[in-house]
Amino acid sequence: MAGDSATIETGPREDVHSPVALSVQGLQKIYSSDTGDVEAVRDLTFELRQGELVCLVGPSGCGKTTLLRCIAGLLDPTAGTVTLDGAVVTGPPKKMAVVFQEYGRSLFAWLTVRQNVELPLKNAGMPKAERQKAVSEALHAVGLEHAESSYPWQLSGGMQQRVAIARAVAYKPEVLLMDEPFAAVDAQTRADLEDLIRRVWKELGVTVLFITHDIDESVYLGERVLILSNSPTVIQEDLTIDLPADRDQLTTRSLPRFTELRTHVYAEIQKAKRGKGGDA
């Protein structure tokens, strides 16, 4: 396997020949209700190669969360399949971790920071010594080693989301899904967390699918940006972000190329809104 620990140091594999980690084929989701069916997602097909960081951006209400829940195995699609490492996803897969937007609600308020991070490992039956080490490393990676015996509600929003990220990192997933994780934190914290994600991704060589409604964020973070159309949702464009691998809040964001890409994505989103939502 290309994903063994010896190659992690080499950073992300950007060559297009690395194996496919996550594949979404013809995904459709229709919610049935008494007042009629709602088609949230029409026909989505895309692939994530191992070690890629892909951002998914779309107009609000375009079914981003529905898509994420289908990929995470929390929701059964109406049609189409999600495949992780060649196996069709029918329930939450073992090799996947999810970071939700609602950090305050995804942490266990009755467990300390350390216990929160440790819980999935404990559940997986990891021996205690190994577990302690993995938790300490993850907390160190997100800069929270000093807060390990605090409770989540004693921390700020940004720190709480860090705990959720540490929990996902300690779990050592092959694919990390993030559902608008920074939508509810303030702008400064958000910039820090974006850099944290880039760093963690590089250090661990994990495949990341990052869902956001923030156009700048998608361009800054992603190696690729998938632009979704308005509901019922399809992939409108698959855009490669050819910015340098080492990104920095100041220099990267002031690059002319950054502005170009950002403008392009913005125009596409506007088109998406008009194209399908013009009659609304």
């Binding site: 073992k94 609602e102 609600r105 266990f108 308020a109 404990k122 559940n123 509600w153 004693q154």
Partner: protein
């Protein structure tokens, strides 16, 4: 310092009331209203002897057994009913029916069915005290945050792990509210279950004093019941603070912001 202050607050009003009572009964010759000193002496004479072992202890033991059983059964059944939707739809109307039956009316029936013994008295307590625990547990289990449920699912937490680290702690504040009610209902039913066809216990003794016009003794029994209630409530609060420290901490933070 803080402890002393709160003790001072707790003691002030009872002390004032006793003082008032003492002042008002200085010249009293009313047979039905004893003087404070008189009552205190009677209290000690009546309850700190053989009666403590033969009446008070068995009563308290039955109360403890009954409410504990009600709590355990209520939580166990509540978790099952709360987590299985069809079971809930099936049982909820019936639970409302059973809950509406005042437990004292069951005493004669249970007497016939179980016999006049401790088991009958415990059954009466369980039947009355289980409802608040059961219904609160059902509500608490249903109200588990869906984001937390998703989190637990994505990390593949086992059923046991989910029950222990998600469902029970999450429902704990509501379960505690149910337990609080169960304790006071349990205490009432402890007395009531002893008022019919009994030969020992606090309830029995108080009724006996009433019938034999031992007014001061009767009053002292009522005081004892009140004191037991206070003791139970203190024990409960200590446990609750310990188990739900995260809940109160979280609430404090939320209100502070």
């Amino acid at each position: 310092m803080k402890v002393l202050k709160s003790i001072a607050y707790a003691v002030t009003l009872p002390a004032l009331l006793i003082l008032l009572w003492w002042v008002l009964t200085i010249d009293s010759t009313n047979f039905y209203v004893p003087k404070p000193g008189e009552l205190a002496t009677t209290f000690v004479d009546t309850w700190f002897g053989e009666r403590f072992r033969e009446d008070v202890m068995p009563s308290v033991a039955r109360f403890a057994a009954g409410t504990l059983l009600a709590i355990v059964l209520g939580i166990a059944a509540g978790v099952c009913i709360g987590s299985v939707r069809w079971l809930r739809s099936l049982l909820e109307p019936m639970l409302e029916f059973f809950r509406a039956i005042p437990p004292p009316v069951l005493v004669p029936i249970l007497m016939v069915l179980i016999g006049i013994n401790d088991r009958m008295k415990i059954a009466v307590i369980v039947f009355g005290a289980i409802w608040p625990v059961l219904l609160n547990t059902i509500e608490g289990v249903r109200a588990v945050d869906p984001v937390l449920v998703d989190t637990a699912r994505t990390y593949g937490l086992s059923r046991w792990q989910r029950l222990r680290t998600l469902v029970l702690p999450s429902a704990a504040p509501q379960i505690a509210a149910g337990v609080r009610q169960a304790l006071s209902i349990g205490l009432i039913l402890m007395v009531i279950s002893e008022m019919f066809a009994s030969s020992s216990g606090l309830g029995f003794t108080i009724v006996l004093f009433q019938r034999s016009f031992a007014v001061t003794e009767m009053w002292s029994g009522i005081v004892l019941l009140g004191l037991i209630g206070v003791a139970v409530s203190i024990v409960f609060q200590v446990c609750e603070r310990k188990i739900l420290h995260w809940y109160y901490g979280q609430k404090e933070v939320q209100h502070g912001r």
